[in-house]
């Protein structure tokens, strides 16, 4: 084959390679733009990616297609409805309801898994080594009562237990008796 013939054969191939390169570039740019747009709400709200906010307990239940466990006993010192409802949808979903006290200060977090006994995602309930831990009976099951460092840096109490194949944690800056009473009254609402 002559050199001219070889060049003529290369040209369409080069043209197609360039066209393919352009397509990859445009699609890559589109995918990057979409991923950036997807991440904007999390950046704006200061939440890690993967954490979603629901407007209400009902909306969280609708998204997860499951009823949440809520305490039948709810002390007057806390405000209802929850200030935030945050959820992480993974193989096992995790939900955390954050409640303020009547003074408007964060006072309690109720976290639970939905759809499995896996650990509660640290994205909705940050893990911290318990300063002190002891066993505690919650209903028919076993649980633990711990002292942990809360979100404001002070010492909070935490009751963690497993019930009906789901894991629960109540972490609050409230008296231990209140926490335990709330934990023992938690049930899936038949609304």
């Amino acid at each position: 084959m002559t050199a001219i013939g070889a060049t003529r054969l290369e040209r369409p191939a080069q043209g197609m390679a360039r066209a393919l390169g352009t397509l990859v570039l445009v699609m890559g740019a589109a995918a990057a733009a979409l991923a950036t747009l997807d991440a904007v709400p999390a950046w704006v709200q200061g939440e890690p990616r993967g954490v979603r906010k629901a407007a209400s307990v009902e909306e969280a239940e609708r998204r997860l297609k499951a009823r949440l466990f809520l305490p039948a006993y709810f002390p007057d010192t806390l405000r209802w409805p929850p200030r935030t409802v945050r959820l992480v949808v993974e193989d096992t979903a995790s939900v955390a309801l954050s409640f303020d006290g009547q003074d408007g200060v964060p006072a309690l977090v109720l976290a639970q898994t939905v759809g499995g006994p896996g650990p509660i995602s640290p994205l909705v309930l940050p893990e911290g080594p318990p300063l002190q831990s002891s066993p505690l009976a919650v209903g028919d099951g076993e649980g633990t009562l711990s002292r942990v460092v809360g979100e404001d840096g002070s010492i909070w109490h935490e009751v963690a237990w497993t019930k009906s194949g789901a894991r629960f944690a109540l972490r609050g800056k409230v008296p231990v008796e209140t926490l335990v009473r709330m934990a023992r009254s938690a049930h899936r609402e038949g609304r």
Binding site: P12, G15, M16, A19, L20, T22, L23, V26, M27, A30, A31, L34, A35, L37, D38, V40, P41, A42, V44, Q45, G50, R52, K53, A55, R63, L64, K65, V88, V89, E90, A93
Partner: protein, 331 residues
């Protein structure tokens, strides 16, 4: 179906069309697609996406609506924008509402003048017995023969300003006025008639109604409305190229276009009080856009005929497959 699901579907149709339109427009520019038939094919894919591809994807892949897909596999989940709220509504709801309103405005901007213009129906024609009428009939027969087409029914209008257009989805007609024949020289008249015959040969009047039906279905989809308008411009360009090839005189077509435009829409508005508030502000951008369209068409006609892009079908297929694959992960 709950309201959230409707917002999901409407949001997806609007957002997917927008992304598809932007990607395809970028490819059309970067690949320098100048052949109007190829441009039409690329843009047709954008219009087919919300009408055919998205409904198929929704039907065949119901798992896309689940939270698992949204959280673990989706590249973009519009529901995340609902986490941010304004006046009690999530930003996604606002976004769908604002874009839906924009789409509706774009649709009505074309629909209302179309319906108002059709109120009188086609102008009543007269037998082409005048010298101008006979000249038009002769030129039409000659141009149709040279293009290998059967001449359509000629509707010759003796009175009024210059008009030259084709109409009819089932029974096609070509409307020419005496003023138009007086305005154009013989070459320009042949080129203008060839342009209209090219439209009729491609069944453009019928297809434009089909396009309008698609626009009505996607009335709240602004990207769909914009791309449909761009397709109408490409169809004009395609008819220009066919006419220029048939008559062999690109300049005569450009000159005829300019003369007809100046004699009709290109005239400045008469001074005086307007009844509609802000009419001037609304009419001016539209008039400017029409003038720009004519200018662009004339500039194209001043240059040589655009060469078709190599491997056009393969490029279109690759682009369509890539866009569809990308949008599968956008919910």
């Amino acid at each position: 179906m709950p309201a959230t699901r409707w917002v999901d579907l409407a949001g997806q149709a609007i957002f997917h069309t927008l992304v598809a339109a932007l990607v395809i427009e970028a490819l059309v520019r970067l690949w320098r697609v100048r052949d109007p038939r190829q441009r039409l094919a690329f843009r047709l894919f954008v219009l087919c996406y919300p009408l055919l591809v998205l409904p198929l994807v929704v039907l065949l892949a119901p798992e896309r609506v689940g939270e698992d897909f949204r959280e673990a596999r989706a590249l973009f989940s519009s529901r995340r924008w609902d986490d941010m709220r304004f006046l009690g509504y999530g930003l996604r709801h606002w976004w769908v509402g604002v874009f839906g309103g924009m789409g509706l405005a774009l649709f009505l901007m074309d629909l209302v003048p179309l319906l108002l213009g059709r109120r009188g129906g086609l102008p009543r024609g007269a037998p082409p017995i005048s010298p101008q009428g006979q000249a038009a009939a002769a030129a039409l027969g000659e141009v149709a023969r040279s293009m290998g087409l059967k001449p359509p029914r000629l509707v010759f209008v003796e009175e009024g300003g210059p008009v030259l257009f084709c109409a009819g989805a089932r029974t096609t007609s070509l409307v020419v006025s005496r003023a138009a024949v007086d305005l154009l020289d013989a070459k320009e008249l042949r080129a203008a008639l060839a342009h209209e015959l090219a439209h009729l040969d491609r069944l453009d009047p019928g297809l434009s109604w089909l396009l309008m039906a698609g626009r009505a279905l996607m009335a709240a989809n602004p990207a769909f409305q914009v791309v449909a308008r761009a397709m109408a411009r490409d169809a004009e360009w395609r008819a220009d190229e066919r006419a220029a090839a048939a008559t062999g005189d690109r300049l005569a077509l450009a000159s005829g276009l300019l003369k007809l435009f100046r004699a009709t829409e290109g005239r400045p508005a008469p001074p005086g009080r307007r009844n509609l508030p802000l009419a001037a502000a609304l009419a001016e951008p539209i008039a400017r856009a029409r003038a720009l369209d004519i200018e662009t068409r004339c500039r194209r006609l001043l240059g040589p005929a655009p060469a078709p892009l190599s491997h056009g079908a393969a490029r279109l297929l690759a682009a369509a497959a890539s866009v569809s694959a990308l949008l599968f992960f956008v919910v």
